[in-house]
C-alpha cells in the first residue's frame, strides 16, 4: 500500500499540530510585546516602547517562518486566533519579568517539538528548528539582561529613566 499521506506531506500529523501550536504561540508573543510597548509608551518609557515594538515584529517574523515551513512541507498551516493578551502591568519591572517568563516558555515549547522530532526521526524538521533554538539563546539572554539592569542600576531616583535608556542598547553576540 502506498503511503499517500507521506506523498502529500513531509511532516507527520503530530509534528504539523505541534508546529501549528507554535505558530499560535509566536502570534501570542507578538501581541504580548505590542501590549508591553503600548504600556511603556504610555508610562513615559519611550526607549523600552521601541524595544518591545521591535520584539513584536521579530515574533511576527518567527510566526511567518513557521507558517511557511508547514506549507512548504505540504501541511496545513493554520492562521491562529489570539486572545487573552495581558495589557496592564503593575510596574516597569513587571513588564520585563513577564517578557523573560514568556521567552522561557517559548524555549520550553521548542524543546518539546525537538524531542518529538527525535522520537520520529524527523531530521528535516529538526534541522529547521535549529534556527529557532539558537534564536532562543539570544531572546532569553536579552530578556535576562534587561531584568539585570534593574539590579545593576536600581529603580530609585532617576533609575527607571536610566534603565529605559539602556534597554534599547542591549545586544547579544556569540563571541
Amino acid at each position: 500500500m502506498k503511503d499517500l499521506m507521506r506523498i502529500k506531506c513531509l511532516i507527520s500529523q503530530d509534528i504539523e499540530a505541534l508546529l501549528n501550536q507554535q505558530i499560535k504561540k509566536e502570534a501570542h508573543s507578538s501581541s504580548l510585546y505590542l501590549a508591553m510597548s503600548s504600556w511603556c509608551d504610555q508610562n513615559g518609557f519611550d526607549y523600552s516602547a521601541d524595544y518591545f515594538a521591535k520584539q513584536s515584529e521579530e515574533e511576527r517574523a518567527h510566526q511567518l517562518k513557521l507558517f511557511k515551513y508547514v506549507l512548504d512541507m505540504g501541511g496545513n498551516a493554520i492562521s491562529p486566533e489570539v486572545t487573552g493578551i495581558k495589557t496592564d502591568f503593575a510596574g516597569f519591572r513587571e513588564v520585563f519579568e513577564d517578557a523573560l517568563e514568556a521567552e522561557i516558555a517559548i524555549t520550553q515549547s521548542f524543546k518539546n517539538i525537538a524531542s518529538r522530532c527525535h522520537k520520529e526521526q524527523d531530521f528535516v524538521t529538526m534541522e529547521f528548528l535549529n534556527w529557532f533554538l539558537k534564536e532562543q539563546r539570544e531572546e532569553e539572554y536579552k530578556a535576562r539582561r534587561a531584568l539585570e539592569l534593574f539590579e545593576v542600576i536600581g529603580e530609585e531616583g532617576t533609575g527607571r529613566w536610566e534603565i529605559d535608556k539602556h534597554v534599547n542598547k542591549i545586544t547579544y553576540s556569540e563571541q
Binding site: M1, K2, D3, L4, M5, R6, C9, S12, Q13, N76
Partner: protein, 119 residues
Amino acid sequence: MEKACIDINELINVFSTDRGSVYQSDKLNCFYVDFGGKFARYNCLSLQKLKNIVEGIDVEALLLNTNKADFELITFNGCDHIYLLSALEIVSLKELLQGAFTMFKLNHLISDCLYRLTV
C-alpha cells in the same frame, strides 16, 4: 457506478468495522469511505478534514442537549458529500476513521523502514 470502478482500481481495504470501511486506491491516489449507505471518494486533504470534523463533534453534548435532535449534519467546503448522522453513527464513523488513520501511521512506519533499508 462508483462501485463498478472498485475492481478496476484494485482497492485496498485499509480498515473495516461492522459499520463501514475505508479503502485506498494506489492507482488514483485517493480513498473511499463506505459508510452510512454512501460510497464516497476523498483525497488526502478532504479525508483529514472529515476526520477532524468528526473528531470535533461533542457527542455527549449532542445527547444531553434537549433542544436539538440527536442528529448532526456533516459536510465541509469542497466536500461532495453530506452525512446526516445520529450520535451512535458519529461514534461509529469516528471509530472507523481513527482506525484508518492508525493503519496509515503503521503503513508509514513500515514503508519508512523498508525504504531506508533498500535505498
